[in-house]
Amino acid sequence: MRFWLWPWLSSILFIVAACGSTATEVSTVVSTPTPLANFTPTAPIAVEATTETASKGTPPPEAVDWLTVEGKTADNLFYLGNPDAPVTLIDYSDFL
């Protein structure tokens, strides 16, 4: 009877030990944010705006540096900037 109980007892001990280590990790993680309890923000935090943007699934608007954009016109001329810019400046020139 005792020999029959050994494998069961070993398994139970192993599981308890494993859970024990997990419990330690969890307690470590939980204890880490403790300093936040004393955190005093020096500037307002825009939590609502971020949440709203995230819920709509649209990325926040980013300013485009059009100096990084180049392409070709319908006439295969090389252009720099916003392809839909209201003003087009064509430079007729030579490198020499």
């Binding site: 180049e70 252009y79 720099l80 900037g81 003003v87 400046l89 430079d91 030579d94 490198f95």
Partner: protein, 143 residues
């Protein structure tokens, strides 16, 4: 138009208000032709404007040296496939493109270098930034 170009870029192109287009003028024979072809070869790899700037900044080297070799040396400074660029230049892959664009500006009657077209309004010769500003601002206000 290296002089006023940085100001135009910082004041209007960067913000998306102005699109800057380059139309080649083959004004000084074979050297001009090769320099324009070099810029177009860089353009095929998305590097037209960096090459355009390098060519203008190194005009004296282009004048006094072998334009093809100087262009290759300049292109080697850019983050592009150098072998592909050199092959493009040696095989004159962009010759037809450059020639057709030069032909087009001749048909438009543009002879003076440089000439600028701001939404159809011509500005002839190298001009200070204020001249461009005076042409551009009313166009932006009317939009």
């Amino acid at each position: 138009m290296l002089g006023t170009e940085p100001q135009l870029e910082q004041n209007y192109v960067k913000s998306g208000q102005v699109k800057l287009v380059f139309n080649p003028m083959i004004d000084l024979g074979e050297g001009s032709r090769q320099a324009h072809q070099a810029a177009a070869c860089a353009g095929e790899q998305g590097m037209f404007w960096p090459m355009h700037d390098l060519l203008f900044e190194n005009q004296s080297a282009l004048y006094s040296g072998d334009v093809r070799q100087v262009s290759k040396d300049l292109a080697a400074q850019l983050p592009l496939d150098t072998a592909q660029f050199n092959s493009c230049l040696d095989e004159q892959c962009t010759a037809e493109l450059v020639q057709s664009q030069d032909d087009r500006r001749r048909q438009l009657g543009i002879r003076t270098r440089p000439t600028f077209d701001v939404n159809g309004q011509l500005i002839v010769g190298g001009q200070p930034f204020e001249v461009f500003q005076a042409a551009i601002e009313p166009l932006l206000e009317s939009k």
